[in-house]
Symmetry: D2
Subunit: 352 residues, 4 copies
């Protein structure tokens, strides 16, 4: 870390601060500039908070971190090698990772009833998906909106899993529900609104199912990776990062702004696999195909898309859901892009 | 609500949609414009989600809500009258509200040990505060940073309450901790990162202590009021709204951008009392006095400020903490502004 | 337009307002809702400003526009047909448009000297570009930074044009320079910082060269199309829209956030051709290839990329410039994606 | 400046880079950390662009600026002393500055006709204003909206000046108009949309009238001060900074988010006087009084407010204009706050 002193900092204070750093196990090296003094801190700085160090003296102008704040999530932690998250499903193990075929996750916003969830599962499986998504517990802006069928929907997801062989990805919103959800889900989703629900992160980090960690709507890349770090630090090494659009000044035509630049950026920072969700990322089904193809061309490991047999009758988020027909058509359109980027789709697709 | 049809919508589809609305208990009134058809929906639209209605037909371009999405939180719900939140404290009942004196909440970011929390309580009480703030459970970006002393800190807060007579405001982060925290706290705080932790909102709405609801860092005014609506709808009518800075494009000199325009805006939208937190709002103690005075001049009902006996040694957020001396000085400087805005400070201040 | 009246608006005021609208040539249709009255305005509303109409009465809560504010830029203006911008270059005419091959624009941030600009032109032409970009006048945040060689650089661009046969795209920043720049440039660029420099928009709209209009860094889609409307309304129908990244809360790893969702969104709103600039959009050369491919997969008509023979020695924006070798490699990698999206690259590429 | 090298940077490259810096007149000091090497650069770094230095080697991870990028605008440039901008007006000289009484600027968005501008001038003067604002040239989002009366309005402003004795502040949008506007205006305004119109900044910096520089709607504090630096560097030392609201994710209830924290932040960074514009900052007249008082309590040197004799008939921006009566009432309400902050209003107010 780099400690920048204010103009005119007294020499005695700089000495005092240097001593303080030494007591904390850091070695300060002083650079006397034309106007200012700067201290370079050598040592295990990763466990220090720059703001905390700033408190040491009012003469400190700023403390700049040179190392990344995340450790286990960093690419360096695996010496530059990407990690893989392999998930057993009835249809066989599926692996999310940079050197593996594209993984497709599809399904409705919420689980409405057995018929629709089983039908959707079968349709998206036929089109090439490896996982079924579907919400049992739904985060809704309004307390008066449909909140999901909760526990009873978990049973329906289990039925859809059995009928289709697909793996199940579903969201958990409350520490009290983690075990219950983990019994059914193959991957537990932590939603955007809970990305910094640290109690939940610790809890899902302490169980064994892989975690899909969605980016908070105004989370920086660093905050997102630090949220992943919570899970990794709690003992669960199987984390998939999912970009689902961020909040910007323009929400007239899209609900969020899908930030596809996370693909090359995350590649250089972390070893974790990456998923893109163009459905939430845009909010409108008609914009999903263009953004799904873009994500694929930019190198995503996985795509999550909302598919509903009758979007007009969906209990939530209908406008962003593709029909099974459109999903199937899109999967076919994506094949040559997957091919051209050297990443064919999963074999199950070829079968379908 | 207003339903805007796309250019060239077929007459038969408009008829079909109108029938659909009638089945939902709404009365559609058709306006045939020069280019488009628009349907005005009359009836109890508050329980409908515009996006949900949009799903009814691909010919619908947009659904615009005319009524506010919140009901119980709206100013109309109380026929234009502000609500009051009265909290019993050892020193007597304190009321938060538009027609009541300014309420001052002060204390450290986190409860570090008994001595510091009791000392801080006594100092801020002497300077004029009615409530002590202090974190037992701390939301921290990094899993490696100090996470608060948790349950044991609750006991220290109780001791500080007894020693000073101040009411206690402290954060709850996990549904599993609500009861425990509610035993000690006079007001439960839901933090910015949990503003849309709907499980937590429902849980705190189902108990009896008043709730301080901080604005999420990228929450719109509507989303914030809908979060309050969750608490109100669950049965707890005592909610205080706290602005603590929003996230914008410039974070070089302030951690957040304190949005003081919420003061006149919320006044016109809601009956709930309002608090401003200039400590998190700016992130730096040196900017707190100017923003505290500004909030007061703009009409806030309450102020929350971080005060620490030794900011340089604070375990978290030291840079934004005032010393007790600076806090005392600020309270004195604010007095004439409070006077001029027709809102004297609480009587306890005069005593101090 | 839809006029929403406040709760409790007096009947007499509604009548008065209705009369006022009639005098303005609009036909108001009244919808009496459960709580509010709403007026639907029928007629040629496009020339009215919603805020202006709102001024008519303090009882008006809001005025919602149903029609788009842009006319000439709208897709409807051309009955759903895309427009084409054909530019004569020494190598032949090049057409920007939805149904035409991808157009590649490449070159340095600024024109540094004759040797480098001619060399770059020849290298990017060989790799498949149709246009050379290069700044003579440079908008720089600091007055102490290199400001471009100005008028003398225009001569160097002319030399590069002659040597390579490429068309020239260069920025104009001052109304006083429009004629001078238009003598050399085949396409005039209006930069992001000048997107709402309305004097400049009117001036470039009144001359004959096509305009490349970059999106302002916090411009909404509507504002961007209204800026295009200024040029179109001034008589120049040849406008190309260029997305170059918007400003968001996270600028740690990318200078801007490249908003690729403009591709499907603009397609549905406007007939104008679209260009994407992944160099400014990310700010770092290493992120350019992924985003260029993504833009192509999402359907862009054109790409602009910074290429410099020696990025390390560039006088401005070196970190985002590709070397000619990397550019050539990227063009090859993009070919199958262009193919798969049914949009082969310009024939000049095949020759190269 | 601090140069952070990438992990594993070769020793030879670090040596090469150090030599390069020496050739540029900088003295590099090497700090060898646990994982990385960092170079501290000593010397006159202010004229170097960090991004430019980054180009020197692909092994450089980032270049962090320790010094501020602005010089003449910095507080240090005047050794901590605030600067004053004194403007002669028919009623006498008025000084903008930290140690001077509050300056009030009021008037309509645009100059509509002689009667209204003269009446407004007399009314706001009577209420306590020292300057009349009013647009001759108007930046409007739509080419079809009223664009201001241009040159003929300048004559009307001169008439209002003569009739009221107020100084005149009006916007200039085009380098071609600077001289014409400077003949009439006592202070030239550069609007938010032109804050980075560098041609205009240079031009107004080269003439003698003081400049009111509005903050761009997504300009960082650093960019804003660098825009001021353009004017200062061109020779004009009389610059006033005006905050008028920034663009954020929530624009439902306010047009912009007024960032009052600029008051304490700018005080610590720059010597330049500060003005706050709560009219554009909120967009609604009903929110102006609260924010004007807040700005005053937070220490502003000056306030700009829109006042129109008949807001409902205004040709532009009516919803944010106060009536003369409301303005007069507000000025009276502000007096005790001005008093309490040790900054009485200008003497002309007392007279009125």
């Amino acid at each position: 870390m780099i400690v920048v002193m204010k103009l005119g900092s007294p020499e005695a204070e700089i000495t005092r601060i240097s001593e303080d750093f030494k007591h904390r196990g850091l070695t300060p090296e002083k650079i006397v500039g034309q106007h200012r003094v700067v201290l370079g801190l050598v040592g295990d700085t990763a466990s220090f908070d720059p703001l905390q160090l700033q408190e040491i003296s009012p003469w400190i102008e700023q403390v700049l971190r040179v190392e990344q704040p995340f450790k286990r999530a960093s690419r360096e932690f695996r010496h530059g090698e990407p990690s893989e998250v392999t998930v057993p499903t009835p249809n066989g193990a599926v692996t999310f990772g940079e050197q593996h075929p594209l993984v497709l996750v599809a399904g409705p916003c919420s689980v409405e009833n057995e018929e629709m969830i089983v039908e959707t599962a079968q349709r998206v499986k036929a089109a090439g998906a490896q996982f079924l998504r579907g919400g049992a517990y739904k985060p809704r802006t309004s307390p008066y909106a449909f909140q999901g069928h909760g526990e009873s929907a978990l049973g329906l997801l289990a039925a859809a899993r059995e009928a289709s062989g697909l793996g199940i990805i579903t969201e958990v919103m409350d520490t009290a529900d983690v075990e219950k959800v983990a019994e059914v889900a193959d991957v537990l989703q932590v939603g955007a609104r809970n990305m910094q629900n640290f109690s939940l992160l610790k809890k899902v980090g302490a169980q064994e199912k892989p975690i899909l960690l969605k980016r908070g709507m105004s989370a920086t890349i660093d905050e997102w990776l630090m949220a992943a770090e919570y899970i990794l630090a709690a003992g669960n090494s199987r984390v998939i990062l999912c970009e689902r659009g961020i909040r910007t000044f323009d929400r007239r035509y899209t609900r969020n702004t899908l930030d596809l630049s996370v693909l090359p950026v995350l590649r250089s920072l972390t070893h974790l696999p990456i998923m893109i969700d163009p459905s939430h990322g845009t909010g409108w089904a008609e914009y999903v195909p263009a953004m799904a193809k873009a994500a694929l061309a930019a190198g995503t490991d996985s795509l999550m898309m909302e598919v509903h047999p009758h979007p007009a009758k969906a209990l939530s988020d209908g406008p962003q859901a593709l029909t099974p027909e459109l999903f199937e058509h899109l999967v076919k359109e994506m094949a040559p892009i997957a091919e051209s980027t050297g990443r064919r789709q999963q074999q199950t697709m070829a079968i379908a």
